[in-house]
């Protein structure tokens, strides 16, 4: 079965078995091993990627069902060797220890911030509850996400407002 995906902006066309999961397509067919697996039952979230900007567990997603869609993996967050702000805050907060949950955690956090630019701590915890982390106890991950939100809001409010309406995003 031909599965066409745009992954991190690049188009891929690969013939795969119909029952190939998105996880297998990414890790084994495209060799994008940044996406991890921890359970294959959708319980740990290590395999989280974005499909059209929304987070899914790629272990339970048939690749053929998302053919023609856009997929973003952890490899698609940084550009030209420069970490994106969320990745940078994960680094500076010590939000990654063994790092195995980190790719999935980043994708869930990125999805949250796109839909809810100013989340409360409770909302961050709720949004990340599908991503198990055994190393950090979550404190530093939550802090990294909250700091990113704050930084993005400041960046937005720093842009001159051309629409004429006041845009007071921020803390």
């Amino acid at each position: 079965m031909l599965v066409e995906l745009k992954v991190n902006g690049f188009p891929y066309r690969r013939e795969v078995a119909p029952d190939t999961t998105l996880l297998t397509y990414l890790r084994e067919v495209l060799e994008l091993t940044g996406t991890k697996w921890g359970c294959l039952t959708g319980d740990c979230g290590a395999c989280t990627v974005l499909v059209d900007g929304e987070p899914v567990v790629s272990c339970l997603q048939l690749a053929c069902q998302v053919s023609g869609h856009e997929v973003t993996t952890v490899e698609g967050l940084d550009t030209a060797g420069e970490l994106n702000d969320l990745q940078a805050h994960f680094v500076s907060n010590g939000a990654s220890q063994c790092g195995f949950c980190t790719p999935g955690m980043l994708m869930s956090a990125e999805a949250l911030l796109r839909n809810n630019p100013d989340p409360s701590e409770a909302e961050v915890r709720e949004a990340l509850s599908g991503n198990l982390c055994r190393c950090t106890g979550y404190n530093k991950i939550v802090d990294a996400v909250l700091e990113t939100a704050k930084a993005r809001a400041m960046a937005v409010s720093a842009v001159p407002d051309l629409s004429g309406s006041s845009s007071s995003v921020g803390s």
């Binding site: 079965m1 119909p18 959708g42 987070p55 567990v57 339970l60 069902q65 949004a127 509850s129 599908g130």
Partner: protein
């Protein structure tokens, strides 16, 4: 999974015909969050997965004066975030927000949740307290049944070969109308997220201008082989004002009405106790909502404990 093929029908008729022809050898798949696990662990071993996701017209939430209709392919996440539903059926939104994770809710559909017929599933009780009617497409056309009749046993529905659940229609008060209704879904779990309900309780209450109960429904999950409607609640509450004693009595009756099992998520006796505890809370919160004594759009704590802040 070994050599499973995927068929992608382009019309509902084609899907129905394919499923009817292949019987047990073909399984419909939508979000896939249950089907993929079942095939991986060998609980089912179909030759075909029939991908319903491309079918048009089966996704979305619509409202009218009497209630709402949810297409079977509607994502749980869409239900969780839908502002209209939040006012018409807080129970459904409260059930949606505790199902799996954001990722699972983004993938999973309400049709899949209903048709997987897990006794602890979140959606059925919340729909049952809104008089859910299941619309089913099959080789002989469309038929409608009360949602409760969809469930036959753990993992089993009354769908015939070739039949597909296409829509659920529910009754709910229009927020702009004078009638006052409220609903609530609570559950008991070990973890506060990413868990299956040990017991799930949905309640809906309608009141008249004098705050006298004019309608009441109650449904439970995880305490019987199928989602359980407790019909007697209507007789017990309609025409009365809601009191703690009365809700407690309903809880006691509900605990007797159910038939839980003992397993790793608790003993039967414990589950009855939880039913007795959660039913009064769910009724009370539904009543607070019906009587406009609850902040609009605010969801209840998962187990309904309204703790005071320090």
């Amino acid at each position: 999974m070994a050599n499973i093929d995927v068929f992608v029908p382009s019309t509902l008729e084609e899907a129905v015909a394919f499923l009817a022809h292949h019987g047990d050898r073909a399984i419909p798949i939508a979000g896939g969050t249950d089907v993929m696990i079942d095939t991986r662990i060998g609980r089912i071993s179909p030759e075909w997965l029939v991908d319903l996701r491309a079918l048009s017209g089966l996704s979305g939430i619509e409202y009218d004066a009497n209630g709402f209709r949810i297409g079977a392919l509607t994502r749980i996440r869409s239900i969780e975030l839908d502002q209209g539903l939040r006012q018409r059926s807080t129970a459904l939104v409260e059930a949606a927000r505790v199902l799996g994770s954001v990722q699972v809710r983004t993938m999973a559909t309400i049709g899949g949740n209903l048709c997987h017929a897990t006794p602890s599933a979140e959606m059925p009780p919340a729909l049952l307290v809104h008089h859910g009617i299941a619309e089913i497409a099959g080789p002989d056309g469309i038929r409608s049944i009360p949602l409760g009749q969809l469930f036959v046993g753990p993992g089993h529905t009354s769908l015939e070969p070739g039949e597909i659940l296409v829509r659920v229609t529910c009754k709910a008060a229009n927020p702009s109308s004078a009638s006052s209704a409220g609903s609530c879904y609570l559950r008991q779990t070990v973890r506060w997220a990413m868990d299956l309900a040990g017991v799930g309780v949905a309640a809906s209450i309608e009141v008249d201008e004098a705050k006298v109960v004019s309608g009441a429904k109650l449904a439970l999950s995880a305490v019987a082989p199928v989602p359980l409607e407790v019909d007697v609640v209507s007789d017990m509450l309609v025409g009365k004002e809601l009191t703690p004693q009365l809700t407690k009595e309903v809880g006691r009756v509900a605990a007797e009405a159910c038939s839980p099992i003992s397993d790793v998520r608790g003993t039967a006796e414990y589950r009855r106790q939880v039913v007795a505890a959660l039913v009064p809370r769910a009724l009370y919160i539904a009543w607070l909502r019906a009587t406009q004594n609850w902040p609009v759009g605010k969801l209840a704590p998962i187990n309904g404990v309204l703790s005071e802040e320090e």
